[in-house]
């Protein structure tokens, strides 16, 4: 019986050694180790053995079984690895092909700039205020210290609807409306973005419709030095921490003193480049201390309250910030233009 087992082992090992197909391996496993397999068949004859022989043969049988199982196991593992290898090979993708993107829209570059500026001022404690785009002559001019026939009305040619109604030429009427709505309460700290309209022929730097953002602060002890401090903080957040400002005297009917504000060129850092026309400075803001007549029109006593206001053109800031050369791009809405303004 022992010989029988040894022969079986030799035969099985020889056959299993040569197997190269998982199906054949399985067939051989059944053939030798199955319920009706050859090893089982041999062991079935164990009953006729003597009590001394039985453990000896039993041990031999176990060794034979072990050897067969081991080789089957090894073979199975090889086959499985092979199969995995084949599958991985078959499933390979071309990683250089493009993926499916998330839908990509975007906000208009002017909205982007407006929101950016709003957020800076919201962080500084400003409320965002709004007003109508069609204004009365009173709010657009008179309450801003530009009575009819005032020479300064030369500066802005307007779109009138009637003698008394016009498309606002500036966001400043919102200042008066806000002051009147606040009914003398202080402090007032607002920022007002919006569309404005002037009779300009469209060209690379002019558009009859454009956007402004205006700020107004009124309080009991607001100083011109606060205006400087506020604008200094704003330009650093907007254009970078090393940006500086320069104030030049100017004239607006609704502020006194009035200032033009230049920022140090954020492209060249003030060295002089094409953007700043070699001057090192970019003119971006008009500002000043609120004129006493305007305070009065808004319901604030100029002896008790003072304030400052500032305003800037959104298109101009966007053009400087992104290096855009033609203002008409904003209103043509060419997809290849508007879709450029995304991400950080």
């Amino acid at each position: 019986m022992k010989e029988k087992l040894e022969a079986l082992k030799a035969e099985a090992l020889a056959k299993l050694q040569e197997v190269s197909d998982p199906q054949v391996l399985n067939d051989l496993r059944v053939k030798y180790l199955g319920k009706k397999g050859e090893l089982t068949e041999v062991l079935r004859g164990m009953g006729s053995l003597s009590a001394e022989e039985r453990p000896v043969i039993g041990q031999v049988a176990n060794i034979v079984r072990g050897a067969i199982e081991e080789i089957i196991g090894t073979k199975q593992e090889v086959f499985q690895q092979q199969e995995t290898q084949n599958r991985l090979q078959a499933e390979k993708v071309d990683v250089t092909l493009p993926g499916r993107r998330l839908p990509q829209g975007g906000i208009h570059p002017l909205s982007r700039v407006v929101q950016g500026i709003e957020d800076i001022f919201i962080g500084m404690g400003y409320r965002v205020a709004e007003g109508p785009e069609v204004e009365t002559d009173y709010y657009n001019f008179e309450a801003l210290n530009l009575p009819k026939n005032h020479p300064a009305r030369d500066m802005q040619d307007s779109f009138y609807l009637t003698e008394d109604l016009l498309m606002r030429t500036q966001t400043s009427p919102v200042q008066i409306r806000t002051m009147q709505a606040m009914k003398g309460e202080a402090p007032v700290k607002i920022i007002c973005p919006g569309k404005v309209f002037r009779r300009d022929d469209d060209d690379a730097t002019h558009s009859f419709q454009f956007h402004q953002i205006e700020g107004l602060v009124i309080g009991r002890n607001i100083r011109m030095s606060d205006l400087k401090g506020t604008l200094q903080q704003f330009v650093q957040e907007m254009f970078g921490p090393s940006t500086g400002i320069r104030l030049r005297p100017s004239f607006f009917p609704f502020t006194e003193p009035s200032v033009e504000v230049d920022v140090s060129c954020f492209k060249c850092g003030g060295e002089g480049c094409r953007l700043c026309k070699q001057s090192g400075w970019l003119e971006i803001l008009g500002a000043g201390m609120v004129h006493p007549n305007v305070l009065r029109m808004g319901g604030y006593d100029p002896e008790e309250f003072s304030g400052f206001a500032f305003g800037m053109g959104v298109e101009r800031i966007a053009m400087l910030k992104y290096g855009i050369d033609d203002i008409r791009h904003f209103y043509n809405n060419d997809m290849s233009f508007v879709k450029q303004f995304k991400g950080l």
Partner: protein
């Protein structure tokens, strides 16, 4: 205003300050200097010469051979091609080796004849020859006979001069004069002024002017002061070169000595003057009054002007002879044969002059100055200055006395400035002495300061200064804006916020842009026909027209965002970009008034446009055209984010401009019923064809109702603890039955157990009889407190089904 530094030096020393430095200082103190122009464009070696003879060139018809004495010891032979060259002229001569802009003069042979230099034109000398008479523009520059020879031309023409271009803001009309500019520079540099003293220069003779002329003002409110002088025996001729040089530096054309002197004094004092030929003034009487209806006047330019009763005129005994402050009359003009003149200096009302000059399109250096209000205290000095110069340079005799009407006394304003307020206002710490010193530099007199209050006397030349803050500005700009400290705002802090509507707009913008829609910005002005393309969500409103549009294309305020979105779509489609998903947030306008008397309604709207394919052509994504439900889904997402799901319904009522079968009105249900807040759908094929677009879907929603209806507060709902039971049904109904109604019925009958209803398939044709459709709907039932039993579900579900059968004749498809 062009300010010649050479001229300016008459009044103030500019020693040690270059023109560029001066420009920088003036800009820093408030008047922007637009540019500094050197009048010498780089010429050297040009001297004055005398043309002794002129012979025709032997071999060239158009050339002359001139013998010129240029003070060089030997006469020069110069070939000259100018038509106007003549023997006996004094001319500028470029010697051999001379430099002109872009040119070096060499000894040369012209058609075989030696030329030892060049006789120069004004243009070759770099002068603005547009200011010269035509014959001098075309030929050589001819100098006055009295010119000495051999002099450096840059000295003769005063070319070693730099001109500052003052870009004046409307308040600083005081600098529309050389003296005003001198005051400004004096304040900036802290240097003394030396001004002309015409009353000392003037020599009166020839009897009292009152014997020959008189003046009167009928409308004193429009002319506060009218003055005149009578000058006889003038000899009109070319002005001395120095006057011409200065006029040209200022950009003013030299004409003759009388006119040039009035212009010179206008530039010097800022006070426009006018000279009449006295012998044409009927009765020697000059009057100031408003024009009569239908009165006419032929002005200096030869045009007959029809006058209106708001225009101020100067009259003689019989008729209007000039438009006050705007332009003189042709008939009383000073000409070459004029002998006696009346010189006028007056203060006319700025607004009146502006209105007249604008209406007639006659804007001049004079009207510009009157419009901004001239200094009343310079009316007489300017008159005297001009009279003295005319006597000196045009040979006239100034008769005794100034003939005048109106007031010549204008008091200087006195303002009180608190030193404390000044420092509080600016954030500075200036002392009384510092402030008084700065006022001193401005030539503003200060009284004694009591308790920190300074009395400041404001000269009449500074009409822009009316309030203490104006004085504060003067101090600030001279002190230097750069020297004002930088401080943070003191006082209570305030929270920075967006309003609810702003926050909602930002949310919509964020949502749509992240969902693939690109924001665009259109114009607020559209064509009138465009305002009629789509239904007015604006109610029964009328479009608002611009009074004076720049073009028909942009002549009414938009009543809808859609026309602009379609324009933008067209613009991009023409550029091969037709896969578009666009949105705009902006205002539309309408009014109920036929004639506008108050502000029109302004409504914030959301507009959307969709066309082309869902995604760009790509290897692993099928190309699918967008459809109605893509756009509707975008809106549903927006409404869902605003917490309005369930309150928004869609009605297929075919709004104007839309495809009748693929469009809907959007209604918002509220306590008072449903109101239409928007429209949605495919563009009507006719309109689409007209606009040359591909299949395009648009929507427009009024935002105001959303601001009010949107969820106020986000609230947590407890998560379900018990499993839901799902039932899928397929309902066969007439195709005309809207799915929305089936859903509404299911929701109503499903009651509180029904958690979710979803259409998951739609089927027509095939085995279904025609006119029928099968709608597959998935229902989820759930109870919050326990697991539903089959019986509980069946009870509700059966009710849902039987209601569908009864109401819609629905048949359940197996």
């Amino acid at each position: 205003m062009k300010v010649s530094t050479s001229w300016l030096s008459d009044y103030i020393s500019l020693d040690g300050v270059t023109a560029d430095e001066l420009a920088e200082k003036i800009t820093a103190a408030g008047i922007e200097i637009d540019g500094v122009e050197n009048r010498n464009k780089g010429i050297t070696g040009i001297v004055t010469g005398y043309v002794k003879s002129k012979e025709k060139h032997p071999d060239a018809d158009k050339l002359n051979v001139c013998i010129v004495d240029a003070g060089q010891g030997e006469d020069l032979q110069i070939v000259c091609g100018a038509k106007n060259v003549e023997a006996g002229q004094k001319v500028p001569v470029a010697l051999v080796g001379a430099k002109l802009p872009g040119l070096v003069i060499k000894k040369a042979k012209l058609r075989g004849v030696l030329s030892q230099g060049m006789i120069c034109s004004a243009k070759e000398l770099g002068l603005n020859d547009k200011l010269l008479p035509k014959e001098l523009q075309e030929g050589i520059l001819v100098l006055p006979e009295s010119t000495e020879i051999g002099l450096d031309i840059t000295k003769v023409l005063d070319l070693n001069d730099e001109v500052l271009e003052f870009d004046l803001t409307p308040n600083r009309s005081d600098c529309l004069s050389m003296i005003g500019a001198a005051y400004e520079v004096s304040a900036i540099l802290g240097r003394e002024l030396k001004l002309p003293q015409p009353e000392k220069d003037i020599v009166e003779a020839g009897g009292s002017a009152a014997n020959d002329i008189s003046v009167r003002i009928l409308n004193e409110e429009l002319c506060s002061h009218y003055t005149a002088r009578y000058i006889t025996g003038v000899k009109p001729a070319a002005s001395p070169l120095w006057i011409q040089n200065r006029l040209m530096a200022a950009g003013v054309r030299p004409i003759n000595n009388i006119v040039d002197i009035t212009n010179y004094v206008m530039l010097e004092y800022g006070q426009p003057l006018h000279a009449f030929d006295a012998d044409t003034i009927d009765g020697g009487i000059l009057g100031v009054r408003l024009a009569d209806e239908d009165e006419v006047l032929t002005t200096l330019d030869g045009q007959e002007r029809k006058l209106e009763p708001h225009m101020l005129v100067i009259t003689d005994a019989a008729k209007a002879v000039a438009l006050a402050g705007v332009m003189g009359g042709l008939e009383t003009e000073v000409t070459g044969s004029t002998v006696n003149i009346v010189l006028e200096s007056a203060k006319f009302d700025g607004g009146t002059v502006r209105k007249t000059s604008r209406q007639l399109g006659l804007r001049s250096e004079a009207s510009l100055r009157f419009e901004k209000e001239v200094d009343p205290n310079r009316v007489i000095p300017a008159l005297n200055r001009a009279a003295a110069l005319i006597a000196k340079y045009a040979g006239g005799t100034v008769h005794e006395g100034i003939i005048q009407a109106g007031t010549d006394v204008v008091e200087e304003k006195v303002l009180t400035l608190s030193l404390d307020k000044l420092n509080r206002y600016l954030g500075t710490d200036l002392s009384l002495l510092e402030v008084k010193t700065l006022f001193g530099r401005l030539h503003f007199k200060c009284g004694d300061a009591a308790q920190g209050l300074i009395e400041v006397q404001v000269p009449t030349r500074r009409g822009d200064i009316s309030y203490d803050v104006d004085l504060i500005e003067e101090i600030a700009r001279l002190y230097g804006y750069g020297n004002i400290p930088t401080t943070p705002i003191e006082g209570p802090t305030t929270p920075g916020t967006l309003t609810r509507s702003q926050a909602i707009r930002r949310e919509v913008r964020r949502l749509l842009s992240h969902g693939g829609y690109q924001e665009v910005l259109g114009y607020s002005f559209i064509q009138p026909e465009q305002s009629k393309l789509f239904p007015a969500l604006t109610g029964e409103g009328l479009a608002v027209k611009l009074a004076m549009p720049m073009s028909e294309e942009r002549s009414v305020l938009r009543t809808s965002l859609l026309p602009q979105l379609l324009d933008i779509a067209g613009y991009n489609t023409n550029r091969r970009q037709s896969d578009l998903a666009l949105f705009e947030i902006g205002n539309v306008f309408y009014t109920e008034e036929e004639v506008l008397t108050r502000q029109p309604h302004e409504l914030p709207m959301l507009g959307l446009l969709l066309s082309g394919t869902r995604a760009a052509k790509q290897w692993n994504v099928p190309v699918q055209p967008v459809d109605f439900f893509d756009l509707k889904g975008a809106l549903e997402t927006v409404f869902d984010h605003l917490g309005l799901t369930g309150r928004v319904v869609y009605e297929g009522d075919a709004p104007e401009g839309y495809h009748p079968g693929r469009s809907a009105s959007i209604l918002l249900k509220g306590p008072e019923g449903a109101v239409r807040i928007g429209t949605l759908g495919q563009l009507h094929p006719d309109l689409q064809r007209k606009l040359d677009l591909t299949d395009t879907y648009v929507a427009e929603v009024s935002l105001q109702p959303l601001y009010e209806a949107a969820r106020n507060k986000l609230q947590y709902h407890e998560l379900p603890r018990f499993p839901g039971v799902e039932r899928d049904i397929a309902v066969v109904v007439d195709t005309a039955v809207p799915a929305g109604q089936l859903m509404d019925s299911i929701r109503e009958n499903g009651g509180s157990l029904l958690q979710n209803v979803q259409v998951f398939d739609l089927y027509t044709g095939g085995k279904l009889e025609s006119g029928k459709k099968s709608v597959a709907i998935s229902l989820v039932y759930r109870h919050n407190e326990h697991t539903l039993t089959d019986e509980e579900v069946a009870e509700v579900h059966d009710k849902v089904l039987s209601e569908l059968q009864q109401t819609f004749g629905a048949e359940l498809r197996k």
